[in-house]
Symmetry: C2
């Protein structure tokens, strides 16, 4: 028997090829939506354009404390030759300024106050001086529109304030409130069913018997899904048996958008997972093994048109496979149209650091190296965290990841690298 | 009357000076804590070290599929001169491997399986061949420990897995589950009371009368607080009257860690806010005006030892003041000890881009310029978004901020700048 066949490595493909194979077979489903309050809408993605029904502001407002007046009455004013305006009271905040200004008149106005008819500018307080109770001296002229926010300056009626596919930020919440929108239609968060398989796996709350270990991957995966904007649906721990895995996957497909199976790092389990995905079909396994370290034995398939991932059981391989394939897919299924992503800006923080030591990369595989960061005399250094990919603490001790391309043989001590920081 | 006094600009200080004045007067309170399930612990900050009670794994495990054996029995093995081992069955996953291996014996083992007594290494499947049902040929020697995760390799009993002050990431959730910790003691999220003042402000759900505008700032602030890891407590809209603001601040001080008052951009309101803070005392107003644009009229104080901020009413000024003062304070009150922050890595994504045009900076003020990003022929450009700081849409259209230091007069077209991206 050919060892390569036995290990399921026939058809090992690059990350790029794996993505292409998936994209060629995958059809974006219609995304479901829900209504949420703007107060709970942070980071949600709009499922429809939000248009303004009325202008913001609805009337001309002062952007300064001072005197509202007709600008023409201030033309030519200087310190030595001020213009004189008669003060016809004060604009009350929050009330309609109804009384029109006569020629040569001004009214006191505070920031945000409504300009009365006949006023087209505001003279700043700093450029005025009260001569007596009824007269103000203006030392500097204003042009029409000076220190005024015009009706519709912020948003015109009919304007699209925010477009479909936009992810809501704090300022967007403010703007939505400003135009009177308190509920928005957003896409539901992509649901990711998490299935952990393995006869040796017990619940985190259990006391393992000899030979047993607690579930690590469901928790790590649930955190990764949540961080990526998805909703984790943890289905539990299942025995390495065809029927158990098959019914778990069916359940996952029933009420989730993506199914992630983890735990099987042995050949037998991987084969079982692949068989389950293939037997459900539509179209089944697309990729079985990717040239990446760690994470090589990842299985990518579609069952009934929904993405199903068979992730290696090693915790670090779970994280790498997630970052490469599941995270980007969650983003896609979130409906977000990301203008920064389009500009090629990575979705995570990236810092430059220098390698503290040489590192030999895996031959013919895209290598995802965990590193911790150290600040030495003002310079940032990346220290490789070595250790088997089965050790979750190699991830815990790391601050981020350095990706070494397939073609590169390794990194040299002192070499500058881009470190993608864990969030 | 001196215009400078009238506008409350006496003692205008730099951002740095404002921070120092605050730090000199502020005493970190004892932080409260709560227990949460690990499944809901993402981004929460540990209030106590988490130590492992038992080693992880609790026993030596195989990290490969293959044959567990005494390494000594494979020494010198080659393709042409293989070592022969007799196969004494298979280790069942999740069960204790009790039967000791006799000399010259091996057992089939899957990844994650428990090593039986007498075995100290695992020969990879790829380096073996079954000769007959009972005998396996080993083509490559292994050293003791090869392809084995030893007991305690991940975590030793008594080890501190995660330290107090650590913010929980997905891999930490996995590791916690791995050592059987399903609940963790975390700091409660800093609560920020949000008070909007202004006779002209109405609820977002209301239909404003002429002269009125809807509440924008409470929503923007609530989003900013949430994004920074705090818990927004929106107290509502209050009239520009001493008693109304005073009782709202007292309420905020009662059940929150920070009070943020917004809405008052007029001199009268600012004076009122300052008076309320001073009258409560302990010690009252520390800073009244900071040399920053926009956001200059910010008031920073302590009332009963708790931070109280009087933010300008202009939406953009609210965001800038928040980023400068409230966000960092929320982080401090979250209890987080951030090793990346210590290394000087900014908490947000930062990209380099070139200015699309000249920009004159505000004289003598740290200028926070909003920009949108454009990708032109593979190069990233930052386009200044001009417009009054009272316009929320200048923030909506922006992708990030360029901070221009006090000493700098402006930016030139084509100049490279660091853009701090909105999250």
């Amino acid at each position: 028997m050919n060892a390569k066949d036995m290990l399921g490595r026939v058809g090992l493909v690059t990350v790029e090829e794996a993505r292409k194979a998936f994209d060629a077979a995958f059809t974006m489903p219609a995304l479901s939506t829900e209504k949420v309050c703007v107060t709970t809408s942070l980071r949600r993605v709009l499922a429809a354009d939000v248009n303004a029904l009325s202008p913001l502001p609805a009337f001309a407002r002062s952007s300064m404390d001072g005197y509202a007046a007709a600008a023409a009455g201030t033309f030519g004013a200087t310190d030595s030759m001020p213009a004189y305006l008669s003060v016809a009271g004060e604009v009350a905040m929050g009330e309609e300024a109804i009384t029109p200004l006569a020629k040569g008149q001004a009214v006191r106005i505070s920031t945000g106050g409504m300009l009365p008819p006949g006023a087209d500018a505001v003279v700043m307080l700093e450029h005025t001086q009260m001569l007596d109770k009824e007269t103000v001296e203006v030392m500097k002229p204003v042009a029409p529109g000076d220190n005024v926010v015009q009706a519709g300056d912020d948003v015109q009626a009919g304007d699209t304030l925010l477009a479909k596919g936009h992810r809501i930020r704090p300022q967007d919440m403010g703007a939505l409130a400003g135009i009177g929108v308190t509920k928005v239609e957003v896409y539901t968060r992509p649901r990711v069913a998490i299935i952990n398989t393995g006869n040796e796996i017990v619940e985190a709350s259990a006391e393992p018997e000899p030979g047993q270990v607690r579930d690590i991957n469901s928790y790590n995966l649930a955190g990764l899904v949540e961080q990526a904007g998805g909703e984790p649906v943890t289905l539990g721990i299942f025995r390495d048996e065809y029927d158990a895995i098959s019914s778990a996957v069916e359940k996952g497909l029933g009420d989730s958008d993506i199914v992630a199976i983890t735990g099987g790092s042995s050949v037998g389990t991987r084969d079982l997972t692949a068989k389950v995905i293939s037997d459900i079909g539509g179209p089944g396994v697309l990729v079985h093994g990717v040239s990446v370290r760690p994470g090589k034995p990842v299985i990518i398939g579609l069952a009934g048109g929904k993405p199903v991932f068979g992730l290696p059981g090693h915790p670090v391989a779970v994280t790498v496979s997630f970052e490469l394939f599941i995270g980007p897919l969650i983003k896609r299924l979130s409906g977000e149209v990301d203008p920064l992503g389009i500009a090629g800006i990575p979705p995570m923080r990236v810092v430059r650091a220098r390698m503290t030591r040489n590192y030999s990369s895996a031959q013919g595989r895209e290598d995802h190296l965990r590193v911790s960061l150290e600040l030495v005399e003002g310079e940032l250094w990346a220290r490789p965290i070595l250790g088997k990919s089965g050790l979750i603490t190699t991830l815990v001790r790391a601050h981020g990841t350095v990706v070494i391309q397939l073609s590169k043989l390794g990194l040299e001590k002192g070499e500058w690298v881009d470190v993608r920081l864990f969030d």
